[in-house]
Point group: C2
Chain length 411, copies 2
C-alpha cells in the first residue's frame, strides 16, 4: 500500500489518522491541532492503485463495498477529519488535480431534458417509500427543517419550516397554488389545511405520487389538493402562488433560465413564488463525485449569484432572500440518527451496500453544512415589485395567523 499513505502523508494537521493495509501494516499520521482520532483498515489490495483515478470516489466506493472499514472513531469522525484537513489535502497533486477537474466539469453537459429529469428523480425518489419512512419525520418532509432555537424535535422543526414558507406565500382564500417537486405531498396538504386554497402538486417520482394522493384522501383535502406526475415544463394554467422546496437542486445549471421563465409564465401578474433550495457560498466548491454518481445524478447546487442571475434574466422581481445556515446540519444529524436506529430494517429492505452508501450521504452532507460552504436559501419573487407588502413585518402576522389555523384544522 503506497498511494493511500502518500495521499495523507504530511496533510493531517488536525487530529490523527491510522491506516492499516491488507498486509496488516499500520501507518499513523497525526497533526499538532485538535481533531478526531480515526483508524481505517483497507481490505482490498487493488484500491491503492485505483486511488489515482478519482481518489474521493474510490474511497467512497471502498467504504460502500466494505473494503474500507472504520476501526477507530466513526464514519462521521473520518469525514470531519477529512474536512478539517481538506486545505492541506488539496496540496497533494492527485487531490488537487481531481478537485480542479471536478470543479471544471460540474454543471457542464447537464441539460436535464424532461426524460432525463424523470430518470434522475426515479433514481433517488423511487427507491421505495418504506426507506424514507425509516429516517424522515412523520410528514415525510425531505428538505431542510427550521430550528429557531436548535432544540426543536425534527417534527416541530419541519412544521416550523412549512409554516415559515406558507407565511411568505401570503395565502388568501380562493388562490391557486402550484407546488413544484411536491415530494410525498406534505407541503401541499399543509397549505390546503391552513388556507382555503387549491393546490396542484407535481412530482416526477411515481412512488411519491401514489402516497401523496393517498395522504390527501386520508386528510380529507383531496377535493382541493391534486397531485400529478408532471415536469415543471409541462404545467399549464395560471397560479397565484408557486412554491418549490428542495427541487431546484435537481434542475441543473443549464436549465436555471428555463426554470425561472416557466415560473414567470405560470404566475398570475400579482403572484408570489417561494423557492427553497440548497446553495453553495464558495464559488470554488465542487460537488462530491460520490454524490454526483450515486445520490443526485444531474443535480447542481447553485451559487446565490447564479440563482439571482436567472431571476433577473426572467424579468422577475426579487422580493426577499433569506439564508439558513446550520439548519440543514441539524436536520441531517436527526435523519442520520433515525437511519442508524433503523439500520437493520433498511438492510432488510435493500442491502448492506445501500446502507453504507446512505450513511456516507447523510454524514457527508451534514459536514458540508457544518464545515463546508453549503446553506439553504429561500428566494421570494414575483412579477411585480409590490406583490408583497412594503416591509417584512407582515411575516410575523402571517405566522400567527397560521398557528391559529393549524389549531383549528387539528380540532
Amino acid at each position: 500500500m503506497r498511494i493511500l499513505p502518500w495521499l495523507f502523508d504530511g496533510r493531517i494537521r488536525h487530529g490523527s489518522l491510522s491506516m492499516t493495509g491488507p498486509d496488516g501494516r499500520t501507518r499513523t499520521f497525526a497533526g499538532p491541532e485538535p481533531g478526531p482520532g480515526v483508524g481505517i483498515r483497507i481490505k482490498d489490495p487493488s484500491l491503492d492503485r485505483n486511488l489515482l483515478l478519482n481518489p474521493e470516489l474510490r474511497l467512497a466506493e471502498a467504504y460502500m463495498d466494505g473494503t474500507l472499514e472504520i476501526t477507530a472513531g466513526s464514519l462521521g469522525d473520518f469525514l470531519t477529519l477529512y474536512w478539517l484537513n481538506s486545505r492541506e489535502m488539496l496540496r497533494n497533486p492527485v487531490f488537487a488535480g481531481w478537485s480542479r477537474l471536478l470543479r471544471a466539469t460540474q454543471g457542464l453537459l447537464q441539460r436535464n431534458s424532461v426524460f432525463r429529469a424523470r430518470r434522475n428523480a426515479a433514481h433517488h425518489y423511487d427507491i421505495g417509500n418504506d426507506l424514507y419512512r425509516l429516517f424522515l419525520d412523520d410528514d415525510m418532509q425531505y428538505s431542510c427543517a427550521y430550528f429557531p432555537t436548535g432544540r426543536e424535535t425534527l417534527e416541530q422543526a419541519q412544521l416550523a419550516k412549512k409554516r415559515h414558507i406558507a407565511a411568505k406565500l401570503v395565502l388568501r382564500p380562493g388562490q391557486r397554488v402550484l407546488d413544484i417537486g411536491c415530494g410525498w405531498g406534505g407541503m401541499a396538504i399543509y397549505l390546503a389545511q391552513v388556507a382555503d386554497v387549491e393546490v396542484l402538486g407535481i412530482t416526477l417520482a411515481e412512488e411519491q405520487l401514489r402516497l401523496a394522493r393517498e395522504r390527501a384522501q386520508a386528510a380529507g383535502v383531496a377535493d382541493r389538493v391534486r397531485f400529478e406526475l408532471l415536469d415543471y415544463r409541462g404545467v399549464e394554467g395560471e397560479f397565484d402562488r408557486i412554491v418549490s422546496v428542495g427541487m431546484f437542486e435537481h434542475v441543473g445549471r443549464d436549465d436555471f433560465g428555463t426554470f425561472f421563465a416557466a415560473l414567470r409564465d405560470r404566475m398570475a401578474p400579482d403572484g408570489v413564488a417561494l423557492l427553497h433550495s440548497i446553495l453553495a457560498m464558495d464559488p470554488g466548491i465542487y460537488s462530491s463525485p460520490f454524490i454526483r454518481k450515486y445520490i443526485f445524478p444531474g443535480g447542481y447546487v447553485p451559487r446565490p449569484s447564479e440563482a439571482l442571475s436567472a431571476v433577473e434574466g426572467a424579468g422577475l422581481w426579487l422580493l426577499d432572500f433569506e439564508v439558513w445556515r446550520r439548519h440543514y446540519a441539524f436536520t441531517l444529524r436527526e435523519w442520520e440518527r433515525r437511519f442508524l436506529k433503523n439500520r437493520e430494517r433498511a438492510r432488510a429492505l435493500l442491502d448492506e451496500r445501500f446502507c453504507r452508501m446512505w450513511e456516507l450521504y447523510l454524514a457527508g452532507f451534514q459536514r458540508s453544512f457544518e464545515m463546508g460552504s453549503l446553506a439553504v436559501m429561500q428566494l421570494q419573487f414575483g412579477r411585480r415589485r409590490d406583490a408583497v407588502p412594503l416591509t417584512r413585518d407582515y411575516l410575523d402576522r402571517e405566522v400567527r395567523r397560521l398557528v391559529a389555523q393549524e389549531s383549528e384544522a387539528a380540532a
Copy 2:
C-alpha cells in the same frame, strides 16, 4: 423641427405629448391608453439635429438650459410619460441604438482609483452643505428612508432606516464600527448614541467631513466617533462591525471585488457587515447618460447577482438580503417637494441651470424606483456562517432595544 417629432411619432401609447417648435408650430401625439397630457416648447432650433447624438442627454441638457420648457403638465408628468411609453420609444432606431450603446459601455473603463474616487465624490458631495440642507431631513440622511406604512414623515422614516440598519449590526458594548461613506455623520453618531461603541466614519468629501466632526462634537460623542477623509482602500485595523449606506453605488463595477475584499480584510473573524445600496433588477437596464455625466460620474448600480458574485468571490458568508421596493420613491418624492419649496434659496446658492438639473435628477430617479427596475438592497454578511443568530427573529428584539436606547439618549 423634424427629428424630435420623428422620435415620438407613433410611440405615444399612454397619454399625450404636444410639442411646439421654435417656429411656433405644434404637433400632438396621443395614445389610446391613459397617461399624463404634457406639452413642451423647444426654443433652440439647434436642438433638433443634435438629438441624433444621444437623444436622452440632449433632451436633459435642453431642459437644464431652459431651451426645453414644460408648457402643460409638470416635469414629473413628462418623465412619467417617457417611462410609460419607453418600450415603444425604444423601437425608434435612434433611441434603440443609443440605448444599446449606453448599455454596452456602462461600467466599462470605470476603474475608480483612489484619486478618481475622490474627484467623483467631490463633484457631487462638495456642492455645499447648504444645498443639501434645503431638501434632506434634519439629520441629513442622503439615502433611502424606511417607510413601514408609507405615511411616515421623512424624519420618522430616516430614523426608522438608521434603527433598521443598527438592528442588523447587532451592536454590543465595546465594539469597533467602521462606517464607509459616512456622509454628514448621522449614522455614525446614531450608532454611538444607541450603543456603547466606537465608530470611525470615512468620507471623501471635505464638506461632509467638516460638518460631521462639528455634529459629533455638538452631540457629545466626539470621544467615541471619529471622522476621517479616507478611501475604503486606505483604512487600517480591525472592526467588529462595518456599515456602508448609499456608497457602494460609487464603487464602480470593476472594483466590486476590491471592495468586498477590503471589507473582509478589515472585519473581525466574528464580524458583521451591512451594505445598503441601490440595485437594478433588470439586467438590460442602462444608467441614464444625464446621471452619468452630471450627477454621479463613475457610479454603477449593481444587479443583485453582481453584488452577490463579489461577496462569494471574497469568501464571505451572505447572512441576509432584504429588498426595499418603493421606499426610495417615497424618499425622493419628499426630497423633491422640499427642494421645490426651497427653490429660490437653491437658486441664490447656485443658479437656475443647477436647479433645473437637480429637479430632473430628483424627479427622474423617483420614476426609476416607481416604474423602472431600481430598488434598494440590504446585504448582511460576515466571515463566519454564525456571525448572527440562527433565525431573523433577533431583529425584532434588537429594534425594541434600540427604541428604548433612543429614548434614553434623548433624555
